[in-house]
């Protein structure tokens, strides 16, 4: 599987602090990837590095095999919806569409106008007078009408109400289905992206903690419920990510090496949310791809 986005030991420093460090991950072509992590984990930094708004201080970032920089070809292949969806407030929607058509050779004007019509967004309305949901939709239209191969979205729905949020995600998924675009979509809430993504990247404190296919991750992780067991006395269950105990029983979230046959444990599937929360709660746990081209560093498994 070729990568739309790949980073190796990527680091970006802000003054003396590292916003991102030792971050290695990949997003395969054709996937819809969720970039999840708490606020300040480095999600925006990673996306800004991927789109060339920032330059790395160490390591490297590759988009379709090339380093983002001042390259027109690469800029045309990447659509970016920035956080808070910035638009020129004194431009009308029609003028924003014109901006897109003037600045992108690959621009699809029919697609833009058609989508805005379906969304009932008046073309003569100034961007500064649009609702938050409409702004986000317009920003998305601007990003997709250039027909990018990779679409990067930086918490576009963070400021939206639940209805607008759902509409935005529906619009996004419709586009992805139509165009086969690779998507990397950041959020500090897994709920926003859980139902739609097939690839997961979890970042925490500036480096990638979990990278992989959602199906594989779900297959590898299990919840085990069994009789009260003392800490450290579990064997043959794989890596324990989270444990909780009551008087009578013990609940474990584990990453398994294979099937669990121990009769004491009642084995069940995990939800993606449980999985992410377990990793975020344990800074020493990581689920990074094995024999792919990425060196592993930083937090060790």
């Amino acid at each position: 599987m070729t990568s739309a986005l790949e980073t190796t030991d990527l680091g970006k420093r802000y003054g003396r602090d590292w916003g991102l460090r030792g971050c290695s991950l990949r997003v395969p072509v054709g996937s819809v990837a969720a970039l999840v992590g708490p606020n300040g984990a480095g999600k925006s930094t990673l996306l800004h590095l991927a789109v060339g708004l920032l330059k790395p201080d160490e390591g490297e970032v590759r988009v379709f095999g090339k380093a983002p920089g001042d390259s027109r070809e690469l800029l045309e292949q990447v659509g970016f919806v920035a956080q808070d969806t910035p638009l020129y407030p004194d431009f009308t929607v029609a003028e924003l569409v014109k901006l897109g058509s003037k600045l992108n050779r690959t621009w699809d004007d029919d697609l833009a106008v058609d989508r805005l019509g379906k969304l009932d967004i008046p073309l003569d309305r100034k961007a500064g007078r649009l609702s938050g949901g409409q702004r986000a939709q317009v920003a998305l239209v601007l990003a997709i009408a250039k027909r990018p191969r990779l679409l990067l979205l930086d918490e576009p729905v963070a400021a939206l109400d639940p209805l607008a949020r759902r509409e935005f995600m529906q619009a996004l998924m419709g586009i992805v289905a139509d165009q086969g675009t690779t998507v990397l979509h950041s959020s500090h809430l897994l709920g926003d992206v859980e139902r739609t993504c097939d690839w997961l990247v979890v970042v925490r404190k500036g480096s990638a903690q979990v990278v992989g296919s959602v199906d594989e991750l779900l297959a590898e992780h299990r919840t085990l419920i069994g009789p009260r067991t003392r800490e450290g006395e579990y064997s043959g269950v794989g890596t324990v990510l989270r444990e909780s105990h009551t008087d009578k029983q013990t609940t474990l979230l584990v990453r398994t090496g294979g099937p669990i046959h121990h009769p004491a444990w009642n084995v069940s599937d995990v939800t993606l949310e449980d999985l992410v929360l377990a990793y975020l709660a344990d800074p020493n746990a990581a689920a990074l791809p094995g024999p792919v081209s990425l060196p592993q560093r930083g937090v060790g498994a």
Partner: protein
């Protein structure tokens, strides 16, 4: 990109056009009036009649001085009002230059425009070229207008080489304007916020302009000296626009009797000891920049500011290409 530049800056162009129109509406009628008076009062004819010599007949000078004084009483205030024009180039730096990059970053729209299919280098080059050319055109119009307007004032008391007078006419305002705009753009790439960029532009402009004008300009070329006796039938020509750097009256032995002044006893008194004639052998010593150095000085100063502007724009583009968020 050109459409976007026009769309984003058309309001600034309109404001500048209105400003230029206001300037035209004020300067054309007053300038015509002043030029007519300069001719009708006989000021021009009298000054032209003095010729090019450094020292000319004291009687003629005295006669012309009274005509010049009459003109000054009528139009001296115009010259003082013209000092306001010194701020025009700074306005271009504050309102065109400083927001160019700073406003995009401050409002976050750089994340929109720098991720379209146009490189940042091209975005910067088109924007900077457009604003610089517009500023150049406005500055040429403004400088030509003010140069014409100042014509009579330059010959009636204030040499056009003098501070503030030099600064609003000729080609120097074009240099100041380009420098102010370039400084504003560069400041925007440093501060990334509009108000601090404006503040940096203001400070940078003033900090360079004042010392260069006050300390540098009088020394662009060595001043010339003119020595002439107090009691004489000749006096310095007031028609050739010399810029007096320093002057004083000295006695025969060369000691200073009175600083910052010149004395001419005319018509010749009965005795050199008469009131105000400082005694026998007293002379005036004047250090001055000749009026015909106006254009060489203008070229020099304009050249300095144009080079500075080019350097700042180069740095601004480099900062844009490198990490800028």
């Amino acid at each position: 990109m050109i459409w976007l530049t026009w769309r984003q800056h058309r309001k600034q162009m309109l404001a500048a056009l209105i400003g230029l129109a206001v300037l035209l509406a004020v300067l054309i009628p007053t300038g015509l009036k002043m030029h007519h008076a300069f001719t009708d009062m006989g000021t021009e004819r009298c000054l032209n009649g003095l010729g090019d010599g450094s020292l000319v007949g004291a009687g003629k000078v005295s006669e012309c001085q009274s005509v010049v004084d009459r003109f000054q009483r009528a139009y001296g205030d115009y010259g003082r009002a013209a000092l306001l024009l010194i701020f025009v180039p700074l306005l271009a730096g504050l309102f065109w230059g400083a927001p160019l990059v700073a406003r995009e970053i401050e409002s976050g729209t750089h994340r929109l425009v720098w991720t379209q299919g146009v490189t940042r280098a091209r975005w910067g080059a088109v924007k900077i070229a457009a604003i610089t050319v517009a500023a150049l055109l406005f500055a040429i119009g403004y400088a030509a207008l003010v140069s014409w307007w100042m014509g009579p004032l330059n010959r009636t008391g204030t040499s056009r080489l003098e501070f503030l007078s030099f600064d609003v006419q000729g080609i120097a305002p074009i240099g100041y304007t380009l420098f102010a705009v370039a400084l504003g753009i560069f400041a925007g790439t440093v501060t990334r916020k509009v108000m601090p960029a404006m503040a940096m532009t203001l400070v940078g402009f003033v900090v360079l302009r004042i010392p260069l004008a006050v300390l540098g300009r009088p020394n662009f070329q060595g001043a010339k000296d003119l020595k002439y006796p107090v009691v004489s039938d000749t006096a310095p020509n007031i028609g050739n626009g010399n810029w007096v750097i320093s002057d004083g009256v000295y006695d025969r032995a060369g000691s200073l009797l009175a600083g910052d002044t010149q004395a001419v006893c005319w018509p010749p008194p009965d005795s050199p000891d008469a009131d105000g004639c400082y005694g026998a052998g007293a002379y005036n010593l004047v250090s001055y920049q000749p009026g015909d150095r106006f254009w060489p000085f203008q070229y020099l100063e304009t050249g300095v500011y144009v080079l500075l502007a080019a350097g700042l724009l180069y740095l601004a583009i480099r900062r844009l290409q490198r990490q800028m968020t």
